[in-house]
Point group: C2
Chain length 284, copies 2
């Protein structure tokens, strides 16, 4: 099968590596808008050919849209339009975006809707671009397939085979539920890390000391603050209502901590920490 | 040298392992108030003998206080008193606590002050107790030596040799500065993790989904929320003013994010993320 990947960054590039070497794709066609990234992707060997957007759609059996979600919502209807124009009934397009409600909504009434499968492979690092692509990135992680009932059965089964090749566990979910859940387990983590980095950078002018004193705890808590604005601005924008709801809950919890510490109320601080410790049940 | 370690948990137990096997201590005497922990420490072999507090002070050349800081501030004067009573002029006591201002202040006028060296080895995990002790925990990390000028030169040089054995980089710092810096690079990270765990646990009743959807990012951001209240209640209490100051800055940053997202102000969100990305300069 010929797989076209639009966006050869962390996600698209890592998919390219494993889909090729594990035999799912006989050929990878890559589309990369940024010329520097395109050159790097070609040198690293992420794609067999770098082609134009139109050529990618026309020559691929399966197209992967792996660009920031703000761009993806504009690109997906163009891909389905081109499928329709060229009479390509069996071609498949998927996206890999971290928010699903809006992208699913934007093609809900498209006549080629069944050729699209909405997915979110829950894997990544805080790095981006073709240099961040790596083998085995997806192994053992979960992949959401959203609103599968709106896609064609054959398309879904091909996409399941694709994610099986990447060693991912499929999870089926409604797009709106997906966006609520990811606000809690992914998006808020990024916001708290960004805020932590801003706090420390703002006050700690003597950067040498941050570096010296930062033990493993700080590094792991602040790691996500290195994440790219190109990816995160549109995510926070598209999942605005859910993210705001979670931020408000978070602010309440933080204020409860602040008040207990300010009041010298050690019993309350202990109670809050013991409650937080219940996360041990869930995260090993 | 005979080393007495009071508190055979993560820090005390890990020190015991490496000080013994690397030849700094010919014998480790352990004191452990909790009988279950004492039994475990003995079985794991963290100490050659479990002894009473008094016996530990009397028989050791160097005593390590590795208990939560609330207990340590009461214990340190007792150790120095017993040094004085028994005429032990050359014995040394150190503590390993995460806050330094209060503990240093509480023995400032003690006649045996020169026998005490205030230290903070900046290493650890989110686990606690003798089961959490491990070899090589301290390798390559920084160790603060606070107010070294108040300690005797010979005591400081012995303690430097101890931390050199643990492969730690010594950093010399005023105790008050230490507490400001650690509020930024350690204590606030714990508070943000606790608040994140509380937020997610509060709202996400379907714990299966947290587990399924939690990618590496969430796990690393929430990891510190597993930390023990026995350790953290006294730290937040003793470093109250600095911690409150940092929490207030953090709340301001979080509100700036919230407002930008609420206002659909993508330029502002991008500006905040780009500013947060500067943490890349400091944390690899």
């Amino acid at each position: 099968m010929i797989v076209g990947i639009i966006g050869l960054g962390l996600i698209g590039g890592s998919m390219a590596i494993d889909l090729k070497r594990r035999g799912f794709a006989e050929k990878i066609l890559g589309v990369e808008a940024d010329p520097v990234n395109a050159g790097a992707a070609e040198k690293i060997g992420l794609a067999d050919e770098i082609v134009s957007f139109d050529e990618c759609i026309d020559r691929s059996d399966l197209v992967v849209i792996a660009v920031p979600v703000g761009t993806a919502v504009k690109m997906l209807p163009q891909v389905l339009d081109r499928f329709a124009e060229s009479g390509a009934k069996d071609k498949i397009v998927i996206d890999t975006c971290s928010t699903k409600s809006q992208i699913v909504r934007c093609v809900h009434y498209h006549k080629m809707r069944k050729n699209y499968v909405a997915t979110h492979p829950m894997a990544g690092t805080e790095y981006s671009g073709p240099w961040a692509a790596m083998p085995n990135l997806f192994d053992g992680r979960a992949c959401i397939i959203a609103n599968a009932e709106e896609s064609g059965a054959k398309a879904v089964s091909t996409v399941e085979r694709l994610y099986d090749t990447l060693n991912m566990r499929p999870l089926y979910m409604n797009a709106d539920n997906h966006d609520v859940h990811t606000a809690y387990v992914s998006h808020i983590s990024h916001v708290t890390s960004f805020a932590l980095a801003l706090t420390v950078l703002d006050k700690e002018k003597d950067e040498k000391h941050i570096f010296d004193l930062a033990s493993g705890g700080f590094s792991s808590t602040v790691r996500l603050a290195k994440s790219s604005p190109d990816m995160w601005v549109p995510i926070l924008s598209q999942n605005r209502d859910n993210v705001l709801h979670v931020i408000d809950t978070y602010l309440d919890k933080m204020k409860a901590f602040r008040d207990a510490i300010a009041d010298y109320d050690e019993d309350k601080v202990r109670e809050l920490i013991e409650e937080a410790n219940r996360i041990r049940k869930i995260i090993r």
